[in-house]
Amino acid sequence: MTGAAAPPLVSLRNVTKIFPPPAGGGNPVHALGPLDLDLQTGEFFAVVGPSGCGKSTLFELIAGLAQATAGTITFEGKPIAGNVPDGIGVVFQEDSCLPWRTVRANIELGLRKRRLPRAEQNTKVDRVLDLMNLTEFARHYPAQLSGGMRQRVCIARTLVMEPRLILLDEPFAALDQQTRLLMGEEVLRLWRATGATVFLITHALDEAAMLSDRIAVMSARPGHILEVVETGWPRERDSGILEDDRFGPTAARLWRLLRGETMRAADVR
C-alpha cells in the first residue's frame, strides 16, 4: 500500500488484533489483519467494509485507544503503543459532548493541558467557533442543539487542539441524509482550511466516494485490505461531486468489491 516518496504520516505493518476469549468461555476473536497501510500527509483517507470487519478496531488502534496483538503502528515515525499521541484528534460515532458544559466549555476542554494565557485560549476557541458556525450557540448546552450541531461541537473540540491527523469514526452515522451531505461539505472545508490529514471510518459508500482521495475497502472478519481505490477528485470539492460522471462508477466499484464480503459477513454472523 506504500508508493508515495514522502514518508507516510501513519504507517501500519503486519498489524493484527486478536481479542482474547471472554471470561465465561469461548474462542478468541481474530478481528483484524495482518494488514499494511500508509496514510500520506494531507490526504483524505476513508475505510469502508462490511459490518463487524474490524473498522472500529482499526480506528482504535490508530487512535492509541487499543493495542495491536502483533505488528507495529507509527505516527510521524514514532510507535503508537496504546496511548493517544500528541497531534491526533479523535471524533467518535456517538455523541461525546459533555451535556453539563456549554458549547464553549466543551471546546475549551481540549485546551486544558496547554495552560495557555486566557486571552490566547479565548482567541483559539473563538476562531474554531467561527470556523464551525457555532459562535451564536457558544453559551448553549448540548441538549439545546440538534444531533448535527452536537457533532460539530465534537469536531470543534478536536480542531481547537490543531491536530495533524483527524480520526473520524462514522461521525455522521446518526444523522439524516441531507444533514450528512452538509456535514460532509463542512468536513471537506475544514480539511482544506486546516491542512490536516483525515482518516474516516464509514459504512456509507457514497459518503466515502464523495469525501475521500483514497478509499480502503476491507474484507469480512478478520479484516484486511482488499484494495485501495483512488478517486482522483480535485482538492477543491463539495457535494457537487455527486453530479460528476465518475462518481457513480467509483461508488459502483466500491460496492462490487464489497458485495461478496458483505454476504460473507452476514453468513458469519
Binding site: 487512535a63 479523535v90 467518535f92 461525546s96 493541558k113
Partner: protein
Amino acid sequence: MSGKWRAGWLALYRLLVLAAGLAVLEVLCAADIIDRLTMQPPHQIAIDLVHLIASGGLTRPILRTMSNAVIASVMALGAGIVLASIIHRIPPLRQALDLVFSTWYAVPVLAFYPLFIVLFGLGNLPQILIGFMQGVVAVIVSMLDGLDRVPRVLRKLARTQKMTPLETALLITLPAAAPWILTGAKLAIMFSIIGVVASEFLMARDGLGFEISYAYNNFDNARMYPLIVLVIAFSVLVNSLLFRWETHLLRQRGLKP
C-alpha cells in the same frame, strides 16, 4: 400548556391538598372528635411554634440536631462517593457487597443503640454515626448506578484528552453521574435526619428528638406538635431544594422537559 404554567398548576394543587388536609384536621379538632389531649388544632400548633421559636428556647436543640444531621449527611455523601468509586473499579468486591447493600435497610441500625451508648456515651457521636450509617448506603447504591450509566464514549474521550484518573473523575465521571449522586444525596439527607432525630429519642439529653420525646412523656402537646412540624418542615425544605437542583441538572441535559 407550557412548562411554567404546568408547574404553577401543580404547586397550586399541592397547596390545595395540604390546605384541605389541614381544614379536615381543624374541623375534627373543633368538633372534639380529636380531643385536645391527643392533638392540638393546626392553627394552635402554628401559634405555639411561632411562640416557641420567638422565645429562643428551641435554638439550642435545633442547632444541635441540624448540625448533627448536616455532619452525618456530609460524611455519608463524602464516604459514599469515595467508597462507590472504589467498589465500581473492583467488580468481585461489588458482587460480594451487593447482598449487604440490598439488605442494609432491612437491618434496624437503631437496635444497636445500647452498644452505641456503651461505646460512645450520650454525646453527639452516636447520633452522627447512626445518621451516617442510615445515609451512606443510599449514596453508594445511587452512585454505583450513576457510574454504570456513564457512556463508554465519555471514558474514551477522557483518554483522547490524556486525562489522569483524578481528572477523569472530576471532569467526566462525577459530573456525568451527578443526577444519580443527587438522588443518593436526597435519600442520604433524609435518612440522616431520621437517624439523628430517632437516636435522640433514645440516647441523648438534647436535640429535637429528645425534646419531642420529653414533651410526649409529659403530655406537653403545646411543645410536642410544633417540634414535629418543625422537623417535617426542615425535611421538606431540604428535599425541595435538592429536587429543584436535580430538576435543573436533568433539564440542562435534556433528560426532563
